[in-house]
Structure formats: structure tokens, C-alpha cells
Amino acid sequence: MLFAGIDVGSLTAEAVVLNSGGIISYESMNVLPNPVDSAHEVMGRLLKKQGLGWDDLHYTVSTGYGREKVQEEGMAQQNISEISCHGFGAYTENLEVRTIVDIGGQDAKVIKLNGNGELADFVMNDKCAAGTGHFLEIMCKALGVTLDEIGPMSLSSRKPVRMSNRCSIYVETEVIHYLQRGESKVDLAAGINKAMAERVVALVRRVKVEERVMMTGGVAKNIAVRKELERMLGTRMLDSKIDPQIIGAYGAALLAQREGAR
């Protein structure tokens, strides 16, 4: 039997299909204006790739900000919060995980699990760009580099430039100012990644962090932010064997498997 998870966020949409053997396929794309269209498109691509139809899916769970509309349109039997889905997905990935730091394009969340992988606590930031992927996007644009570049390039910095502001708008101004002053892009990138990590840590501290910690979401791919977080939290983070960006959809598919079996 096939089970599916669809995660429609504010920037990207993911779909995962699995069976008792594990993930069969997954797909990720930038969202379309309408969340229903996004769900249709991302799952459509996956199903086409696998030569499957919607009817082949036994049970589907939708999650993310568009979850309710996706369920209302009949593309999912149930909708579950992205918090539960991320938690469950990360736990299934690695049973040691107790704290998940999920940094998406427009929001950030910290999820705490108990020993059974159940949700114990969580905190979210979905109001302020600081500490989300959007902060990095703005800075990459100012620096003239891509999101894929900003992490690795900063690893060689010996003197990260200190960002003295909290608000993304002011930090952007600072970056431009430093560039004009001739500061190196490498040091600026390092400063930006450090500032990003500081904002994330401020959120993380609101939950009593427990080992082990895993980072999920798009920003998890930024090696520099991850290293900074590890340093600030004093812990080595768990790796995810699957793409950290699809953990939400993966968790949704796993929950579909659990709910569908009932």
C-alpha cells in the first residue's frame, strides 16, 4: 500500500510517497500562488515520475500552511500540523532526536519530542524574517551570492564581520555599507551566517533543549549556519539521511501510514 504526504509551505511544496519499505519517491518545487495548485502540481510530478495515479494512494496527509485547503479539495484524507509532521519525520529518521530546529523560508520552529517521539513542546516564529530563510535570501541578494554559496564560502573566514542589528532591513543596510567599505565577501558571509545562527538560538532557548538535536528545513543545508549553531549550543547535531527539506512531507507520509492502517 502506498501512503503519501504533501507539505505546502509558503515558499516550497514537497510530496513524498512511501510504502512499508520506505520512501519510493519525493518531489520538491517552489509554490504556485494557490496552495491547492501547488499540491496538485508537486504530487502530480511525483506520480507521473513513478507512473502512478492518485487512486494508487491509500491514504494521504497534508501539512503546511496550505494543509486545510488541500484536504478540502479531496487530495488528502487528513491534515496534520507541520509541527507534528516534522517531529515524527525526524524521529523516524533517527530515534535519538529530541529537539528539532526547523528553519524554513518564512518561518522557524523548534520542536521537542519525548522518548516516544511524541510532541512535548514547540515554539514558532512566523512573524519576523530574522531567523528564517528569508533573512538569508535578503543577505545573499545584497552580497551577490546564491543560497548554495553563502554557507561553504564563509568557512574560510578568519574574521567574521559582526552584524550589530537584529532587524533584517538594518542588517541589509549594514552589509551594503561594509561592501562599500571594502570588507571581504567571505568575512561578510561568515558574519551573516553567524547572525542567522544567533537569531535561531534565541528561539531555541525558549524550549529547554535536550540532546540530540537535528536541524531540518531548507536552511539546514547551510553548513556554516549549522556549524555556528552546533558551537553555540555546544552539541553535534544529528545528520538526516534524507533531504532535510522534505522532512515535513516525509513525516506526513509516515503519519498517513499510521492513520491509514487504523
Binding site: I80, I83, A120
Partner: protein, 373 residues
């Protein structure tokens, strides 16, 4: 009046009863805060109307006076005070509930002064001296009301009003008891609507509404509940916020809300004495509001006993952005509740912002998934 009527009438600023009351020549006095002894207004033969905004999210007039660092509930109320919506009020009573409310009243009076306006000064700490002060303040208020409206308020009038309110309080407690049953007779949304309606009617008539509701719902059972909740926090009259929680399977079996049971819980006047002293004691003692800066243990214990009594699975504590009294108190409460193994969801929200409802929904859903399994 049926429950559907209650829900409908509670959702408007001037319900049908109020409109008729006004057209019959009745006078309406607006007040903001549960520390206001409404008995004095009723004893004067007037209708005490609890100021509300019912989720109004337009604040462009208010924002020219208050700032965006002020509570959005107060800005919403001020908007209605300045745009003519509250012109039906014949007078206003200010209480120093919190700094935001003080600012709301001050700007209201600066821009659109009321014909009758009086400041009732509520102490922040309950002591013998402050109780004496408050008693005298109530007397001054009563005198001002009598003078302005050329009415007399005798001690008998006051005692009559006190006993009437005692009956209301007892019946409201009955309603909350029915809401707390293992198979509740009311939803939290319905009870909130009843509370709101009750603060926009004369209590003698509201008593009849309550009697009908209690009778109609005596054997009613709500069964499809994922998790039982206690909702506490900042001033909110947003019935749709409770609806959002309950639409996801939560049942608000108990509350600790300013527009909810805080207004009447633990208040019982007794039979005799100087009515002003009785009112002062009743309203100031055990005022379960975080503006009382030494009574956290009382508030904590009240909440814990409510959780135990209503057998709730979790507690949702909400505060309006920039509400300092609840913002800080909720942290103390959360720590105390979690120490006892009671799950808590803390929410910070904007009042009246539909965009915020989506954010809140996600959090509530996750919390319900957590506590309901």
C-alpha cells in the same frame, strides 16, 4: 431566547434588547474592566455596558492617537469610540485596569469627550488602607452619577442591585458547571457569547435568558471532544477565536478570562453591611487579574483548581501583543502548571487580525495533536 439567538445578539455592538432599551429612554453607561461594581450603575436605574470591540480590526483613527505599541484591543475599542459607534453611550467609567486602558480612555476623552465621565481608581494591592480608599472612591463615583443624572441611589437600591447580581453570578456559575461536565452541556464559544450578552443587558432581563438556557441545555451532551481545555489570558471578546479552537476538536471546558469567569468567580456579597464597603471588598479582594501585583499565588491556585475541577487536558494561555500584565503573568502560570505536569500552550496574538487566526490555528492544532494523541 435560544442559544442561536444568544450567539447572534452577542455578535453585535448594539443588540436588539439594547436598541429597544435606548429607544424607551434608558441610559447606558460604558465601563471597561471587571473591577467596576456594575451594581452602582444598576442601582441608578441604568444599564452597565461592558466596552467591547468584537474583533474589530480597523484602527486607523485610533492609531493617530494611540501608538502601534499599544494593545490592539484597546486601539480597536478606541476606534469605535472615535468613529461614532459608541455614541449610544450616555457616560463612561474609567478604571485603571492597565496602562493601555488608561491610554485608551485618555485619548477618547481628549478627542471625543463624553457627557458623563468618571474615573474609578482601583488599587493594585489589597490592604486595609487601599480597601478604605476604594470604598470612598465608590462613594464618590455614586455621588457623581447621582448628581449628573439627577437620580438618587439609596442603600436599599444598592442592596437590591447587589442581590440581583449575586443571583446572576450564581447562575453564571451554574452555566460554567454545566460546561465542565464530563459530557458538557455548553461549548466554550456558547458560554463566552452568553457572558458577552449579559454585559449588554439589564441583569433582571439577562437572568431570564440564563434561566432559559440552563433549562434548555440541562440534558444536552457534547461528546465529540478531542481534548478538554482551559483558556486564560488577555482581554478578548473574540468569539471566533474560541470557535477556531473548538472547531479543531478542543472543548473550552473552563476559562480564566477577563470577559469570562474572572468577572464573577469567587464573588458573593452576603447579606448586610455598608453596601459601598461590601462592594469594595467583593470587587477588590481576590480580583483574579494580573494587575494585582502581589496575588500571583491566588491566581495560580485558582487556575490549578479550575484545571482539576474541569478535568482539562491542557491549558491555553493567550496574551495580546504588548499586553505586559498577561504577557508576564502567563509565563509564571506556565511554569507553575508545567511543574505539575499540566501541558500549556502559550500564544501571543494580535487582536482582531484575521491573518493572526491562521497562525494561531496551526499552534492550537499542534497542541491538540500533542495532548489528544
Amino acid at each position: 431566547m435560544k442559544m442561536e439567538d444568544v450567539l447572534e445578539q452577542a455578535a453585535v455592538m448594539q443588540n436588539e434588547y439594547l436598541k429597544k432599551y435606548k429607544s424607551d429612554g434608558g441610559r447606558v453607561i460604558g465601563y471597561a474592566c471587571i473591577a467596576t461594581p456594575v451594581e452602582i450603575v444598576e442601582a441608578a436605574g441604568m444599564l452597565p455596558y461592558r466596552l467591547r470591540a468584537l474583533g474589530n480590526n480597523r484602527t486607523e483613527i485610533a492609531d493617530a492617537h494611540l501608538s502601534r505599541f499599544n494593545c490592539s484591543f484597546c486601539r480597536s475599542v478606541l476606534q469605535l469610540g472615535l468613529d461614532g459607534t459608541y455614541d449610544f453611550l450616555d457616560g463612561l467609567i474609567e478604571t485603571n485596569g492597565c496602562d493601555h486602558i488608561r491610554g485608551m480612555f485618555e485619548n477618547w476623552q481628549y478627542v471625543n469627550p463624553s457627557e458623563f465621565f468618571h474615573y474609578v481608581r482601583v488599587p493594585h494591592v489589597m490592604t486595609e488602607d487601599s480597601l478604605e480608599y476604594f470604598t470612598n472612591d465608590l462613594r464618590l463615583w455614586s455621588e457623581a452619577l447621582q448628581k449628573h443624572f439627577d437620580v438618587a441611589i439609596s442603600e436599599d437600591d444598592l442592596w437590591s442591585a447587589i442581590r440581583q447580581q449575586d443571583r446572576i453570578r450564581a447562575k453564571l456559575k451554574k452555566v460554567t458547571e454545566m460546561r465542565e461536565r464530563d459530557e458538557p452541556a455548553f461549548t466554550g464559544t456558547e458560554v463566552m457569547a452568553a457572558f458577552l450578552l449579559g454585559t449588554a443587558m439589564m441583569s433582571t432581563d439577562f437572568e431570564k435568558v440564563l434561566d432559559r438556557l440552563i433549562e434548555q441545555r440541562e440534558n444536552h451532551k457534547i461528546t465529540d471532544i478531542k481534548a478538554r481545555l482551559l483558556l486564560g489570558g488577555s482581554a478578548t471578546d473574540e468569539v471566533e477565536f474560541l470557535e477556531m479552537i473548538e472547531s479543531q476538536g478542543g472543548h473550552i471546558s473552563a476559562d480564566n478570562l477577563c470577559y469570562g469567569s474572572r468577572a464573577f468567580w469567587g464573588r458573593e456579597a452576603g447579606e448586610s453591611g455598608d453596601p459601598y464597603a461590601v462592594l469594595a471588598g467583593m470587587y477588590l479582594e481576590n480580583l483574579p487579574c494580573p494587575r494585582m501585583f502581589v496575588e500571583f499565588p491566588y491566581r495560580r491556585d485558582l487556575m490549578i483548581s479550575s484545571v482539576e475541577r474541569a478535568k482539562t487536558d491542557g491549558v491555553i494561555l493567550v496574551h495580546n501583543k504588548f499586553c505586559d500584565v498577561h504577557g508576564v503573568d502567563n509565563v509564571q502560570l506556565r511554569l507553575a502548571l508545567e511543574k505539575r505536569g499540566i501541558p500549556v500552550l502559550s500564544l501571543e496574538k494580535e487582536y482582531g487580525a484575521t491573518a493572526d487566526l491562521g497562525r494561531m490555528k496551526t499552534r492550537v492544532q499542534a497542541f491538540l495533536e500533542r495532548i489528544a494523541g
